[in-house]
Amino acid sequence: MTDLHEKFAEIRDDIKPEWDDDDTERALANVPKRRAQRRRRKQIGGALALIAVVGVAGLVAINTPTGSISAPNQIDMVAELPTGVVGQPTSSAFALRDGSNVAPGPNSTVTLVESTQGADRVELEDGAATFTISAAPNRRVYVLAGKVQFEAERTTTFEVRKSSDYVEVFVVNGSVLVTTQGEQVTLEKGARKQFPLEDSDVGAVPIVFAPDSVAEAVEVAEAEIDAKTEPTPAAAADRDIDIERPAQDEWERLAQEREWKAAARALDDAEPDTIEQLLLAADVRRYAGQPIKALPYLQEVAAEHRGDSRAAMAQFQKGRILMNAGQHADAAAAFASVRKMPANGAVAEDALSREVEAWFRSGDRDKARNRAESYLEAYPDGYRAKVVRRYGGITSP
């Protein structure tokens, strides 16, 4: 058979876009109008962001013990925060001696465990909290969540969430040193990682990343991607055209500030381009409560960057969204395709175990059992073996 492009070459001349001098003149005359339109869009985006910031500030103000329900500016809010009381669990925001502050989220509890001249220790008991740490020489602030300790290395804002089996941290600004069971890692702005909550008598365990968020896969795979697909600006400089690095979009800025709803609104009018942007866009949709809208971005990552481990993570995430949406058979198919992806090391086991669960929930017990047997064969001591046995209808040995 003749190659398609050869066949197409014969008729290429039949593709004649209609664009003449009149079109050029009309388009040129309308450029000022287009510029004004673009400016308006930018202003609307900015206004939405401002509304979001004011809204969040109002909510935080309502949560402060002062009882103020007005929306003071952020400096006033910080000034009004009471100093934390040692040993008293609280769900309200408070300040530390050095001006740092701690803001628990809804249904969350934190305790100022210790406050001395040299250091403050705060423990996140339940839920989530935001820590805004002021850089103060000779003074440290330690945050504990289970067996995981966080320490800001300079002026830093970070968020910690504690669930039944892991602790998640997201660094909004600055840098955080994480210590868990003898291992240390420094996380910079924009990083999000999860750490398992292990019993202390298990001994030192490596820091592992639970495959819960696509965004964290960015870091997991960073070392792998340099040699692949997209060129670096330096490589581009070797060519005739000097590549412009696109400025950060408004939705990305809002996402970094975890203003998910505002970021999602700004994202409506944006076009994520790179793999990083696509993954972030998916996160924005998920955290803004629009998981279904995350699917096209994840699909794009999975389709266009198949050899990249982030593609496997994206596909895995897609499976989870479909599962939560009740589309169990589709979820199972998504998890199954993760296993077939080349760079799936970080999520292969999880994907297989979730596939078992998805088939079970879809009502296909045979497939659930079949996949469960595959899991137990591949990972006889897998950390999800118990769950897999249950969904696969396999009794314990």
Binding site: D3, D13, D14, E271
Partner: protein, 184 residues
Amino acid sequence: MPASGHSYLRDLGSDVEESDVSPMDFESVFRRYASYVSTILFRTLGDRSDVEDLVQDVFIDAFKGIDNLEEPEALKGWLAVIAVRRARRHIRKKKVKSFIGLDDLAVAPELIETGASPEHEALIQQVYENLQRLSANDRLAWTLRHVHGMTLKEVSAACECSMSTTKRRVARAEEKLQKAMEHD
């Protein structure tokens, strides 16, 4: 145009706004290359709607980053890069909108020459319909190479990717198109 950039931009100072640039310069570049840019957009998108807006966006964007140009001869390529960026965003936006039911992916027939034979017209329609199913990058690489007739090197520059990635994308698109059209 000096090798280091545009003197008329530099001379106006660092806080120059795009609207402060001499309209003659913008207009002459626009008049000279609007047709070229529109052709890239038409052929990659297969659709006339929004092309006028996109052409304007390409020139507005180009003048924002024009200081990055080191050689005046690179202007045409620079415009191609920006046109491809815009096309890529447009394709992705359409896909997302179509996914959430705000848009459809219908193919517009107006880019076909009126004198084309029915067979040719049908093939073009078929190809563009199937192009909608490809990823934005694969679609762009294939259309730039085989519809627009760029060389692989030109496609690589316009898509801001390596030659090997370009080859891979073109081949992948061709394979998927072939398969899809065999099933049509």
